[in-house]
């Protein structure tokens, strides 16, 4: 095994071009487990932990450009306003020690359906900035996950950053597990209201081969909100709408039975999470609108 230690980004891209099978390591919270347990023996480890710009972020007009290695701790402490869904998801990652090392770039690279960042990225709307010696391109998050632990990266590419749309409305993230800390999601759900475009977006984790959006649920809810003039009135959403939204969210799942839960349980739990997150986000939207009275909710 060789340990490649590029001092800068260009050097890292050159190393990846020369050794396309080299496995990038930043926080190491996934990869080192595989190495410790002898599940993986890459010929080359490509250490990205010396490349400072990967741990930086920039807040722009409409998007946050989040460096691939920004630790979850930074996101949950410092990007709560701009990226509330991702900050909530970041807070559910493992433990403080892991959040100090783990990053969204790692979640994207591993592309596990259980990665906590995915539902939040899908719901917020994001593009993954990837680069190689051939150049840079941006992959819409909807096209990024291509299979179980597979993504749209070419062998010579590295993840540089993720461009996440700044929140224009309330966002929520909720996750089912056996305890609060150190839990791989049994299932997870992210929801973002986008009042600027009068749309909603969702993300489901651990309930399909890849992270997925519940597109039918999104379209149904956006239609119901538009039809009833809810964006303007801020009225309470009818329970029947919440229930239908939850059913459609469950319908978007394609889960399996495994040690963490059954497929049936996952579908049920995703429906519950969808209904609850809708209640929370809509309450927050109403709370800051003109008609923000009352506490009736879907949950």
């Amino acid at each position: 095994m060789d340990f490649l230690r590029p001092a800068g980004w260009e050097e890292a891209l050159a190393a990846k071009a020369e050794h396309p099978a080299a496995v990038p390591i930043a926080g190491g919270t996934d990869l080192m487990v595989e190495i410790n347990f002898d599940h993986r023996r890459p010929d080359h480890l490509l250490d990205l932990s010396r490349i400072d710009e990967l741990e930086e972020w920039e807040v722009g007009e409409t998007h946050v450009r989040l460096g691939a290695s920004v630790p979850y701790t930074r996101i949950l402490e410092q990007l709560r306003t701009e990226l509330p869904g991702l900050a909530l998801a970041s807070h559910t990652v493992a433990s403080p020690q892991i959040r100090n090392r783990g990053s969204v770039g790692g979640n994207l690279g591993t592309a596990s359906p259980a990665g906590d960042a995915h539902p939040a990225l899908l719901a917020a709307g994001a593009e993954v900035e990837v680069a190689s010696v051939r150049g840079t391109r941006r992959i819409p998050i909807d096209d990024f996950y291509t299979g179980v632990k597979r993504n749209a990266l070419a062998p010579d590419e590295l993840i540089r950053a993720v461009h996440v749309k700044k929140a224009a409305g309330p966002q929520q993230f909720s996750k089912v597990g056996t305890r609060n800390a150190m839990v791989i999601a049994v299932c997870a759900f992210g929801l973002a209201l986008h009042p600027d475009s009068r749309t909603v977006r969702t993300g489901i984790g651990s309930a399909a081969p890849t992270p997925v959006r519940a597109r039918e649920a999104e379209e149904f809810l956006a239609g119901a909100l538009a039809e009833g003039g809810f964006w303007d009135s801020g009225r309470t959403i009818a329970p029947s709408v919440c229930t239908r939204f939850a059913e459609l969210a469950a319908g978007a799942c394609d889960p399996i039975d495994d040690v963490r839960g059954t497929a049936k349980y996952r579908r049920h739990a995703v429906a519950v999470l969808a209904r609850r997150t809708l209640g929370w986000t809509w309450d927050a939207y109403r709370g800051r609108g003109a008609n923000g009275k009352g506490t009736e909710r879907c949950a």
Binding site: M1, D2, F3, R5, I25, G27, G28, T29, M32, V33, I35, N36, F37, R41, L45, D47, S49, A94, S95, P96, Q97, I98, N100, R101, N180, A181, M182
Partner: protein
């Protein structure tokens, strides 16, 4: 490969380190610092917690090469830091006084994590303590005594941080 870094303030060097080796292995097996414990090797238990450039991490998940030129503090580095003739760190003394040590295996990781919490926040709420220690498992389930120890140690850290701010307030 050779790895050189600072461990508890001392420049250290390890030779013939395997490229897939963890920082934990280097500390324990090559540098004679067995305080950090090796249990789950997957970041679940926190018994290998050390500070890497000040930040608490699971040393079993840091590749040894990533520690090159960094500063590592292990549980062995905590005693003797808090004053001229200081012995144990306040959190270590508090663990003894509170009876927070049973089998002792989780203790070093908990001490390192709790010490970092109190350094940041010398008046933590119970929720803050639980959160900060949520990555450290104690299988004797001595958590209540551990929480007691952290509460008991907190005033010692408050006086540490009060000193410089008093000085800076002087004309």
């Amino acid at each position: 490969m050779r790895v050189t870094f600072t461990a508890n303030g001392r420049r250290v060097e390890a030779d013939d380190v395997w490229e897939g080796e963890s920082l934990l292995y280097v500390l324990r097996e090559r540098l004679g610092l067995p305080g950090s414990k090796n249990a789950c090797e997957q970041g679940e238990c926190g018994s290998c917690t050390v500070r890497l450039d000040g930040v608490p991490v699971c040393s079993c998940l840091v590749a040894a090469g990533q520690a090159q030129d960094r500063e590592v503090v292990t549980v062995e580095g905590l005693a003797g830091q808090s004053g001229e003739d200081a012995g144990l760190a306040p959190i270590q003394q508090a663990f003894i006084e509170a009876g927070a040590v049973q089998c002792g295996f989780c203790t070093p990781g908990l001490i390192v994590a709790a010490d970092e919490l109190l350094e940041r926040n010398a008046a933590p709420s119970d929720a803050d303590i639980r959160e900060a220690l949520s990555g450290n498992l104690c299988r004797c389930t001595g958590y209540e005594k551990i929480l007691d120890a952290v509460r008991r140690a907190a005033p010692g850290y408050a006086s540490d941080t009060a000193t410089p701010s008093t000085e800076s307030a002087m004309p």
